[in-house]
């Protein structure tokens, strides 16, 4: 269900917690599964639960509570732009508008070619580098002026 590489990563996460507290590794296991699969289907969530010897509902609860988990298929590149106040004061809301225009989609939507999904995000803890956006949850893009956005989008295949 998951590649040996992903399973090895999950096994490494498990070493961080007491042997009888495998539940603690649910968050990272779901993250690792999502990186491999692109999103979390019920089957993937259930697989993770069984792998960590937890009831499926425990894993499902995690996947639905934390907003970086994706419960539906999305575009190849998820762009999350922060529009919270500190970012907005430095062009965050404008960056969001520019992205909508450029990609021709609204927040929560995916381009028809399946390449980009655009999300409106909450504070990413990087306000000093505003405007900021997050690429596929893990890569922080700073100072996202329209020119920087153009450049970044062109880089993403």
């Amino acid at each position: 269900m998951l590649s040996p590489e992903s399973l090895a990563q999950i096994d490494r996460e498990l070493t961080k917690y007491p042997a009888d507290r495998k539940r603690s590794a649910l968050m990272s296991a779901l993250r690792i599964a999502q990186i491999e699969k692109g999103w979390l289907s019920n089957e993937t969530i259930e697989f993770i639960a069984h792998y960590l010897e937890q009831p499926p509902v425990a894993a499902y609860e995690m996947a639905t509570f934390y907003n970086m988990f994706q419960l539906k298929p999305i575009g190849k590149h998820k762009i999350t732009v922060c529009t919270n106040l500190p970012c907005a004061l430095s062009g965050g809301a404008d960056a969001g508008k520019y992205l909508q225009q450029k990609l021709g989609i609204g927040y929560g939507e995916t381009t028809t070619d399946g390449k980009f999904t655009l999300m409106e995000g909450e504070c990413m803890g990087a306000c000093g580098y505003a405007p900021v956006m997050l690429h596929n949850n893990h890569s922080m893009c700073k100072h996202m002026t329209p020119e920087a956005i153009d450049k970044k989008l062109a880089e993403l295949e």
Partner: protein, 429 residues
């Protein structure tokens, strides 16, 4: 950017050197000497706590609770496992200091946690890192590996007869997990819903064991205190407000970034450090301690100093030290609308007053901003706020109400103008 006027957390860090964060560089500038001192001088746990108390270090995550006192709450004679936790889940709008601590000086945090582990008899620690800063998580993992290899983590550290292991835990997007008991729930692999207190974490924390949770900046200040003595740290700041503080400055300034300065610096100087107001505009208002802190108008801010007591006296709170600067063109209704949406979005839903009330606050402010406000709306906001504050398990409810109360206290006329004229008095963000 990050810089310091007086560096404790950033002591001698070279921000231009891409390897400055590495263990080798940290040791060169006096790193791990505090830990060595504890071992060499056979310092007792009580002696460390005494220095911490003298230092007047107050929690840097937002609450400002005296760290030495918090450490003394841990039951020293408890026979079982105890835990140490670091809260790097910074998601309070305006706050981005912990990100730079891990980026530029992760070993100060690691050393501080090892000392904390020794002092409280906790042999295992976790650092819970905010979901959106994955690169910081990877760096911290790398720094941990360096510390393990060098023998600073593991068994019988430096031959001092105590053990400590430290792990990084990566969050995945929930502001509420910055609340310490929600963080513990999350660390246990559950939804981040805060626990009812008491019992406090010092008696029932992670996995039900005694646990101490401190902020990243708090731990990162500990090596300096142990190395130089609490008194020296205290003297950097003001009585009851010891040491330096990282201020994360965002908004309408020329040079946003993290500035480590002595507590008690006048706000006007801090603003100057950040390059002053962008485009030469006039300062209108400042949120001095993260989005939950009540806003203060320019004239109050320009006459206050940046420390816990002075900001509290001015009617707000120093919180996490996140300073959000707004110029004369900022519409306060629009600003508050965005903040209220944040709390509505991030309420965990456990307590009805917060789950329902944050939605009410947002919807009412939204309709004022969009020209559909009613004259009775301002009193309605205060009434809804009064039914949230103090009626929830954790402080998120209060945090959602304080910005509303602050805005209505200092900028009520702007809200009234909005309701009457159905448009902004100022252009926007």
């Amino acid at each position: 950017m990050a810089t310091f006027v007086k560096g404790v957390v950033f002591e001698d860090v070279d921000f231009e050197n891409p390897d400055s964060w590495r263990l080798e560089e940290y040791v060169k500038r006096g790193g791990y000497a505090a830990l060595q001192k504890i071992v060499n001088e056979k310092m007792t746990q009580d002696a460390v706590i005494a220095e911490m108390k003298t230092s007047a270090l107050r929690g840097r995550g937002g609450a400002g609770f005296p760290t030495g006192l918090k450490w003394s709450f841990m039951p020293r004679s408890f026979p079982g496992q105890k835990y140490l936790v670091c809260n790097t889940d910074e998601g309070e709008p305006g706050t981005f200091k912990d990100l730079d601590i891990i980026k530029y000086n992760p070993h100060a945090l690691i050393e501080g946690m090892i000392i904390g582990g020794f002092t409280m008899g906790a042999t295992v620690g976790y650092n819970y890192i905010h979901g959106e800063v994955f690169e910081a998580y990877l760096r911290f993992e790398e720094a941990l590996e360096e510390a393990r290899k060098a023998g600073f983590l593991g068994n019988n550290i430096l031959g001092g007869g105590f053990d400590f292991e430290l792990h990084a835990h990566h969050g995945y997007g929930a502001y509420i997990c910055g609340e310490e008991t929600a963080l513990l729930e999350s660390l246990e692999g559950k939804k981040g819903q805060p626990r009812f207190k008491p019992p406090f974490p010092a008696s029932f924390g992670l996995y039900g064991k005694p646990t101490t949770i401190n902020n990243t900046e708090t731990y990162a200040s500990v090596p300096y205190i142990v190395r130089n003595g609490g008194q020296k740290f205290l003297e950097l700041g003001k009585p009851n407000n010891g040491g330096t503080k990282l201020f994360s400055i965002s908004g309408h300034v020329n040079r946003p970034g993290n500035y480590e300065v002595p507590l008690g610096m006048p706000f006007s100087e801090l603003l100057e450090l950040a390059g002053g107001m962008r485009n030469g505009k006039k300062l209108k208002a400042v949120i001095p301690g993260g989005s939950s802190a009540p806003v203060l108008p320019a004239e109050i801010m320009m006459n206050t100093t940046m420390d816990f007591d002075a900001i509290s006296k001015a009617g707000s709170m120093l919180g996490s030290g996140a300073v959000i600067v707004m110029d004369e063109d900022t519409c306060m209704v629009k600003a508050l609308e965005r903040l209220s949406y944040f709390y509505f979005e991030e309420s965990c839903g456990q307590c009805t007053p917060c789950r329902e009330g944050t939605g009410w606050l947002y919807r009412v402010i939204h309709r004022i901003e969009h020209g559909q406000g009613r004259p009775e709306d301002l009193d309605l906001l205060l009434s809804v706020g009064g039914n949230i504050a103090g009626r929830t398990i954790c402080a998120l409810g209060d945090a959602a109400v304080m910005p509303v109360q602050g805005m209505l206290k200092h900028f009520r006329s702007e809200f009234e103008y909005h309701i009457e004229n159905k448009r902004c008095i100022a252009p926007g963000y």
